[in-house]
C-alpha cells in the first residue's frame, strides 16, 4: 500500500538545537499512527513540518504520492490536512464558531455574500453546533461564547471537533489529552475511533501509553530528532515501547 | 444677556508674548465691561485648534474676535465664516494672507522687525560685515510664517539676497554658515548654536527667532568662551529679553507691543459693538502698525532705536 502522507530526511534546526535530524515518516490510509518519544524529542516539530507550520531546513514531504511544499498551515489545510496543535491555536476573544471557521468562513448566498462578502453566521453556527453535538463530545450551551470562557477541557474539545469536521485526508492531534481529565480523555479517544471508522487516517502524539496502545495501529517511536523504529502494538508491550523511546533498549531492526 | 462678548485666540498660551497679550486684553475688557473668552493652540503652528476656537466664538455669540493666526492663510476660511456671522475679526501680531481677510489688523511688521536688527548688525560690524559668519536660529522645520518673515527680513536688512522670500534655507550667500531650528526655546537655541559652531567655530553673528532662543545660544557660546566676541540679535522685546540686552547677552532686539495690540483690539470691538464703527489702518499701510522699535545700548546712526532703559518701560512678560 502507498502511504498517504510521507516524509524523507526532514531536518529542522533551532540555533544550536537540531529538532529534526534526517527524520523519515510514513502514514498509511485509514490507520491511527501514534508518535511517542521523550520530551523534546522533536515530535511536535515533526508534525509541524508535515502541516506547514514550520518550513523544514531540508527534506521532502509527499501527500498521496505527490511532492508538496507547504509554506503555511493554510496550504496544508487546503490540501486536506487538519492539525490540532499542542498549543491549541485558538483566538481566545473570539467565539467558538469564529474559531471553528477561522480561515474558511462561509459566505451568504446571493449578492450580500458575493459582492459584500457578508458571512453566513447562521449557517456557521448551525454547522458548529451540529458538529459538536454529533461528536457527542460535550454540551455547549452557547455556541457564540468566547473561547476564553471555556474550561481547558472544553477548549480542547472544540479544537478536536474542528479538525474532525474539516480534515478530509489526514488529521493530526498533538497531545490532545494532556490537560484532560479521565472522562474528557475518554471522549477524545472515542472521537479518534469515530474518525478512523470514517476512513480518515490520524496521527496521534501522546505520552499516555495505555491510550496509545488502545487506539494505535502502528507506533512511530521518535528519539533524538529522528524515527528510531516503527512498531506494531500487537507485537510489542508497553514496556518495550518505553524502553525504545527512552533508549533503555535498542530495537532489533527497523520494524514494520 | 446684554453683555458684549469678545474672543482672544492666540497661537499658544505658553509663550509669555501671548500671556501678556491676554493680560492686556483682560484688563481692558474688565475696564470696558466686556466679557472675554480666551483660546490658544497647543503649539505654534496649530491652526486647527484655532479654527475650533473661532467656531466656538461664533456659537457663543461673540461680537468680535482677536486672533494671532498660526497659519496666515489656513485660517482665512474660518475668519470668513465669522465675519459672515456679523463678527468683527481683528488680526493681532500676524497679518492674515490676504491681509484684508480680517476687518482690521493690529500688528507688528515681522519682516520689518527682522530688517531692523539686520541693518543694525550690518552697520555695527561696518566693513567686517563682508566677512561675517552668520548663524540663523529659526523656529521649526515646518517654517511657520513669522519665522520666515523675520529670518528673511534680517537677511534683507543685512544685505543678503534671500532667494524665495517665502522660505528660508534657499540662500546661497557664503556668509551664512547655516540655518538650524530651535522651537523658540532655550534648549533648542543652545543645541542649534552648538551644531552650527561645530560646523564653523568662527561664527560671529547670530540671528535668533526670539529671545529665549537667544539666551540658549548665549549659553552655547559661553561654554566655549566666545560669548564676548559674537553678536546676537533677536526679536520680541519681552522683559527678560530686554534685560538680556542690558546684560550684553543680546546686542539688539526688535521690540513689539502685544499689550497694546490687545487693548487696542478690545477697544475696537467695544466700539464696533456699540455703533458698528470699523477700526482704521495706519496711514499709508494696510494695517494698524502697533510699531516695532529697536532696543539697544549701542545705537548706530541712521537707525532709530531706544535704550534698554526705555525698552524696560515698554517691555512685556
Amino acid at each position: 500500500m502507498e502511504p498517504i502522507l510521507n516524509a524523507k530526511n526532514l531536518v529542522k534546526r533551532y540555533g544550536k538545537v537540531i529538532a529534526l535530524d534526517h527524520c523519515d515518516f510514513e502514514l498509511y490510509p485509514g490507520e491511527v499512527l501514534a508518535v511517542i518519544g521523550d520530551n523534546g524529542a522533536g515530535k511536535s516539530t515533526l508534525i509541524k513540518a508535515l502541516s506547514g507550520a514550520v518550513v523544514p531546513d531540508g527534506g521532502e514531504v509527499w501527500l498521496e504520492g505527490a511532492r508538496v511544499h507547504f509554506h503555511s498551515p493554510t496550504d496544508a489545510r487546503e490540501a486536506g490536512i487538519e492539525t490540532v496543535y499542542q498549543t491549541l491555536a485558538m483566538s481566545p476573544a473570539l467565539s467558538i464558531t469564529d474559531n471553528m471557521f477561522m480561515g474558511r468562513e462561509l459566505r451568504k448566498p446571493g449578492i450580500m455574500g458575493k459582492w459584500f462578502r457578508q458571512l453566513d453566521h447562521k449557517a456557521m453556527e448551525d454547522f458548529a453546533r451540529k458538529k459538536l453535538s454529533d461528536l457527542g463530545l460535550m454540551t455547549i450551551q452557547n455556541i457564540n461564547q468566547a473561547v476564553e470562557t471555556l474550561s481547558g477541557g472544553q477548549r480542547q474539545g472544540v479544537a478536536v471537533a474542528r479538525a474532525a469536521a474539516f480534515g478530509s485526508k489526514v488529521i493530526i492531534l498533538d497531545e490532545p489529552t494532556a490537560a484532560l481529565g479521565v472522562k474528557e480523555s475518554r471522549r477524545v479517544l472515542d472521537l479518534i475511533q469515530d474518525v478512523r471508522s470514517r476512513g480518515i487516517p490520524i496521527i496521534l502524539i501522546s505520552h499516555n501509553m495505555p491510550h496509545v496502545f488502545e487506539v494505535a495501529d502502528r507506533i512511530h517511536v521518535h528519539r533524538l530528532g529522528r524515527r528510531l523504529c516503527v512498531i506494531d502494538p500487537k507485537d510489542y508491550t508497553m514496556s518495550d515501547a518505553v524502553a525504545f523511546m527512552t533508549g533503555a533498549k535498542e530495537p532489533e531492526a527497523v520494524a514494520a | 444677556q446684554d453683555e458684549t462678548t469678545a474672543c482672544l485666540i492666540t497661537k499658544t498660551d505658553t509663550n509669555p508674548f501671548f500671556v501678556k497679550m491676554r493680560e492686556g486684553a483682560t484688563a481692558k475688557a474688565e475696564e470696558l465691561g466686556i466679557n472675554l473668552m480666551t483660546f490658544a493652540g497647543q503649539i505654534d503652528g496649530d491652526h486647527e485648534t484655532q479654527v475650533q476656537a473661532i467656531e466656538t466664538c461664533i456659537a457663543s455669540g461673540a461680537s468680535g474676535i482677536l486672533i494671532t493666526a498660526s497659519d496666515t492663510s489656513s485660517i482665512v476660511s474660518s475668519v470668513e465664516q465669522a465675519r459672515e456671522a456679523g463678527i468683527l475679526v481683528i488680526a493681532l501680531d500676524t497679518p492674515l494672507d490676504p491681509i484684508d481677510a480680517a476687518d482690521a489688523t493690529f500688528a507688528t511688521d515681522n519682516f520689518r522687525a527682522g530688517e531692523l536688527i539686520g541693518q543694525w548688525a550690518r552697520e555695527t560690524l561696518g566693513d567686517e560685515a563682508e566677512n561675517a559668519r552668520i548663524a540663523m536660529l529659526d523656529l521649526g522645520v515646518s517654517q511657520p510664517t513669522v519665522g520666515v518673515l523675520r529670518d528673511q527680513g534680517f537677511l534683507t536688512g543685512f544685505g543678503i539676497d534671500v532667494g524665495d522670500p517665502n522660505r528660508w534655507g534657499d540662500e546661497d550667500d557664503p556668509r551664512i554658515v547655516g540655518h538650524d531650528v530651535t522651537a523658540g526655546n532655550e534648549e533648542g537655541g543652545r543645541q542649534a548654536m552648538e551644531n552650527l559652531l561645530a560646523q564653523d567655530p568662527m561664527i560671529n553673528v547670530v540671528y535668533t527667532i526670539n529671545e529665549p532662543a537667544a539666551a540658549g545660544a548665549y549659553e552655547a557660546l559661553k561654554a566655549i568662551g566666545r560669548e564676548n566676541d559674537v553678536m546676537i540679535v533677536s526679536i520680541d522685546g519681552g522683559c527678560p529679553g530686554v534685560q538680556n540686552v542690558g546684560d550684553g547677552v543680546i546686542g539688539a532686539t526688535a521690540q513689539q507691543y502685544p499689550l497694546q495690540m490687545a487693548s487696542l483690539g478690545i477697544e475696537a470691538i467695544a466700539q464696533y459693538a456699540e455703533d458698528g464703527t470699523l477700526p482704521q489702518p495706519t496711514e499709508g499701510k494696510e494695517f494698524f502698525d502697533t510699531g516695532v522699535q529697536l532696543v539697544t545700548d549701542q545705537p548706530v546712526e541712521g537707525i532709530e532705536s531706544i535704550t534698554v532703559e526705555e525698552g524696560m518701560e515698554l517691555c512685556w512678560g
Binding site: D98, Q118 | I43, T56, D71, T72, S74, V141
Partner: protein, 354 residues
C-alpha cells in the same frame, strides 16, 4: 490497588450528566444591563458620551444643547474621527500607528500640489493623494508584516520620514482657500455643508459616520474583519488556524493609510487651504479617542464605534469646557483627567459586570 487496568471503563459508558448550574444571584433589569455591557463594548463610551452631553447641557443650556452646537462638535471631531477609524484598525491588530497624522497631511499636500503645481486634473490629483496615503500605509505594513519590526518603532520612524517629506516636498507652501475655490473646488468637497433645521452637516461629517458604520459592519460580518480580530488576539494562533497573518496586517496598514488620506481630503474641506503644518496632533488625539473608546491597546478587543464615541467625548469636553470659559491650559488639564477617568470607569464597569 487492583483492577487498575480497567478504571477507565467507568467513563466509557456515557451518562446523562447534569451540568453544574449555579443560581444567578443578579436578576432583572440591572442584570440585563450588565449583560448588554458585556457583549457590546461600545456601550460604555456611549454612556459616558450621553452623560457628558447631558451634564454640559444642564450647565450651559441652549448655548450647548442646540442642534447648531451639537453638530458643531461633529464638525470639529471629523478629522480626528476619521483618523481614529484608521488608528482603531491598526490597534485592533495589536499595533499602533504613529504616522497617521503625517500621512494625513502629506496626502492633502499631494492632492493640492498635484492639482496646482503640475496642473493635473483635480479628480486625478485627489486619486493620487489617496494613492499616496495607501502607499505610506503599505510601507508601514511591509515593515511590520514582512520585516517583523515592532509597529511602534516602524511608525515612529515613518512618522518622521513622511513628515519631513511633507515639508520638503511642499516647500512649506500653503495653497490658499481662495485659489482652491476658484480652480479646484473638488478639493473642498468634504467641506460642503447642508443644513437640517439648525443642524449643520458637512460631507466630511457624513463620511466619518458612514465610514465608521461600514467598518464596524465589515469587522463583524466579513471574514477579513474576523481575521483582524484574530491577528490582534494571538497572531501565532491565527497563523496556525489558517489566517494569512501577513496579508491581513499588510491590508490593515494600507487601509489605515488610505483612510488617513481621506482624512487629508476632509482636512482641506475643513480648513479651506492646503497647509503642510496641519494635523500635527492627530497621532495623540486619535490614540486618545481610541483608548477612551475602549479598544484595548493589546489588540483583539473592542469595537470601532467606540472610537467614534471616544472622539466625540473629547469633542464634547473641549467645546463644553471652552464655552464654560475654562482657559486652554485648564482644558488640557481636564482632558488629562478625563482620559484617566474614562478608562477607570471602563475598567470598573467591566469588573462589576463580569
Amino acid at each position: 490497588m487492583s483492577q487498575s487496568d480497567s478504571y477507565e471503563d467507568i467513563v466509557k459508558a456515557r451518562r446523562e450528566e447534569k451540568f453544574a448550574e449555579f443560581e444567578d444571584e443578579r436578576k432583572g433589569l440591572l442584570h440585563k444591563f450588565h449583560h448588554a455591557l458585556h457583549v457590546t463594548p461600545a456601550l460604555v463610551p456611549l454612556i459616558v458620551l450621553v452623560a457628558s452631553i447631558v451634564i454640559f447641557g444642564v450647565l450651559l443650556g441652549s448655548r450647548f444643547f442646540s442642534p447648531f452646537a451639537l453638530t458643531l462638535i461633529l464638525q470639529q471631531v471629523q478629522i480626528v474621527g476619521i483618523v481614529a477609524a484608521a488608528q482603531s484598525l491598526v490597534i485592533l491588530t495589536a499595533g499602533i500607528d504613529l504616522s497617521v497624522g503625517a500621512i494625513t497631511v502629506l496626502s492633502s499636500v499631494v492632492m493640492g500640489q498635484f492639482a496646482f503645481r503640475y496642473g493635473i486634473p483635480v479628480p486625478v490629483a485627489v486619486a493620487c493623494g489617496l494613492a499616496c496615503g495607501a502607499l505610506c500605509g503599505a510601507l508601514n505594513g511591509f515593515l511590520v508584516s514582512r520585516m517583523k519590526l515592532p509597529p511602534f518603532i516602524v511608525t515612529l520612524g515613518t512618522w518622521q520620514i513622511i513628515l519631513a517629506t511633507n515639508y520638503l516636498y511642499s516647500a512649506n507652501e500653503t495653497i490658499r482657500a481662495q485659489e482652491i475655490e476658484e480652480s479646484a473646488p473638488l478639493l473642498h468637497l468634504m467641506g460642503a455643508k447642508f443644513q437640517i433645521g439648525g443642524a449643520v452637516f458637512t460631507v466630511g461629517v457624513v463620511f466619518m459616520i458612514v465610514l465608521m458604520l461600514v467598518l464596524s459592519w465589515v469587522l463583524r460580518y466579513t471574514a477579513w474583519g474576523r481575521h483582524v480580530y484574530a491577528v490582534g488576539d494571538d497572531p501565532e494562533a491565527a497563523q496556525l488556524s489558517g489566517v494569512n497573518v501577513k496579508g491581513t496586517l499588510l491590508s490593515v496598514y494600507m487601509l489605515s493609510g488610505l483612510i488617513c488620506a481621506f482624512a487629508g481630503w476632509a482636512l482641506i474641506g475643513r480648513i479651506g487651504s492646503v497647509s503642510p503644518t496641519s494635523a500635527y496632533e492627530a497621532n495623540i488625539e486619535s490614540i486618545t479617542a481610541v483608548v477612551i473608546g475602549g479598544i484595548s491597546l493589546f489588540g483583539g478587543r473592542g469595537s470601532i464605534l467606540g472610537s467614534l464615541f471616544g472622539a466625540l467625548i473629547v469633542g464634547v469636553f473641549t467645546l463644553g469646557l471652552r464655552l464654560l470659559g475654562a482657559d486652554a491650559q485648564w482644558t488640557y488639564f481636564f482632558i488629562g483627567v478625563l482620559i484617566i477617568a474614562a478608562v477607570a470607569v471602563d475598567q470598573w464597569i467591566r469588573k462589576v459586570s463580569a
